[in-house]
Subunit: 280 residues, 2 copies
């Protein structure tokens, strides 16, 4: 299957860190035939660095290329809708990083478009493929803890703290849809539900406790409108009680504690930070 990657920054980002190494390790099934960035210089550099034959300085040429079967979208959330819509309209299958759109409406419009065009469209909720999460899933299924009575999850957003690098500053503006709720908590709750079942009911409290943050490189103070506190209580489908608390930044205490209490046993999953998709 021939993959075109939109957003193949040669210096940083998930294409370089995750998508490209993963696809290259699956060379029996996938071939990266094209990439695009927003500038011709970076496109050329990326094409050479990653060994990809077609390197475009715009996504239109990529989604319309006859050499591309599936388009991987690995850019910031605010661009997901336009890029995914163009790829789907061109009749291409799409793999888009989570969160799919900026808000529910964009996601629903993309889902409808994919259905209309009859193409495969996948959202990258990759935490459920992380070995640690897959192992928890299997242990639960095997009855390791007996019946699940409850689960508690405390996590640090890592970002959304007192300071963030310039490249992450856009996540502080809730309008961009790349929030602590949508990114680390979204991925992590998907992992939790994958292991323990979907949410039947919930109540939540959200707050912005740090209303500003500093740009790491310059010290400039910028406003924060993304919620940096999310506290959830609820029940899962099987009846287990659910408690979740995510806080912006890092804690000198708990950065990830996911505990599962069962009739026959308990599990604790810990990590250096709260992003389930990068659990170690």
């Amino acid at each position: 299957m021939r993959v075109g990657i939109i957003g193949a920054n040669p210096d940083r980002g998930w294409a370089m860190q995750a998508h490209i190494p993963a696809l290259k390790s699956l060379s029996d099934d996938f071939e990266i035939t094209a990439l695009s960035t927003s500038r011709s210089v970076s496109a050329a550099v990326a094409g050479k660095l990653f060994g990809v034959p077609l390197a475009f300085d715009n996504h239109h040429d990529l989604v319309n290329s006859a050499a591309v079967d599936v388009v991987a979208i690995t850019v910031k959330v605010p661009y997901h809708f336009e890029l995914a819509a163009d790829a789907l309209t061109a009749g291409k299958a799409v793999y888009c990083e989570w969160p799919l759109g900026n808000g529910l409406e964009e996601a629903e419009r993309l889902a409808a478009l994919a259905e209309k065009k009859g193409v495969l469209a996948v959202v990258g909720l990759q935490a459920r493929s992380a070995p640690s999460v897959a192992y928890v899933h299997d242990l639960i299924k095997q009855g390791y803890v007996g019946d699940v009575l409850s689960t508690t999850l405390i996590g640090s957003g890592m970002g959304w703290g007192p300071a963030m690098p310039q490249s992450e500053a856009y996540t502080a503006d809730s309008k961009n849809g790349a929030t602590m709720l949508s990114i680390p908590l979204g991925h992590t709750l998907d992992a939790l539900c994958h292991c323990l079942g979907e949410v039947r009911e919930l109540s939540a409290t959200m707050a912005v406790r740090r209303t500003s943050f500093a740009i790491v490189e310059t010290g400039e103070i910028k406003p924060m409108t993304s919620h940096d506190q999310v506290s959830v209580s609820g029940l899962l489908d099987g009846g287990a009680a659910l408690s979740v608390h995510y806080r912006g930044g890092m804690s000198r205490g708990t950065n990830l504690l996911w505990e599962i209490n069962g009739t026959q046993g308990d599990l604790q999953i810990t990590s250096f930070g709260g992003h389930a998709q990068i659990f170690e």
Copy 2:
């Protein structure tokens, strides 16, 4: 000040474990002049064991004794209302263990009666006097963590698990008002609010996940109607986010983790179980 203790079981209970040693250690201010139990044999044994001059086999004689200024009520919750009401009606000051009544209405009626009689009436929310809690209170007040951004508390009820001794079986029946919510969580949230401020708003999810339990001594299976899962999300008065999860029984994982995240620092309080009034 002359204290009469209702419920001075010579074999076990809080009078023996806590009230009597504490009062005896404050002999400049307090003198235990009377006690009562419900049977003349145990009253006599307790009077001799604890060195208390007047030992009654009923609480009426105690609350009406001219040798008693303040009545301490150290029995199960279902009896609090009758005993406290009788003591207040007799014009005596009252110190009653928390929870004050079986439900809000009983507590409000007792508060109104104390006000009408013009006597001092105190509820034993003693966790705030525990050295560890007092230390947290002082650290927060001194600005050790800066501004409090949020707090998370996970605790085990210790009781309300798969098995309980006969003496605690009454706590499994929610009608008795001696529940995980009212006892360990009530004491612990009082400690939390003492340190961090009162609750401004909250949502909660409660569940009974273990609908039965075994009597330790006999193995007999009894129904459980007290909630053994309480999950809370909310905000404190100062705006800090609040997340609380209490689970019945004990966990092989987290039995108490109280974390306070601030702008300048973080605190973690841990213990072997979730009852704040017996933190070590």
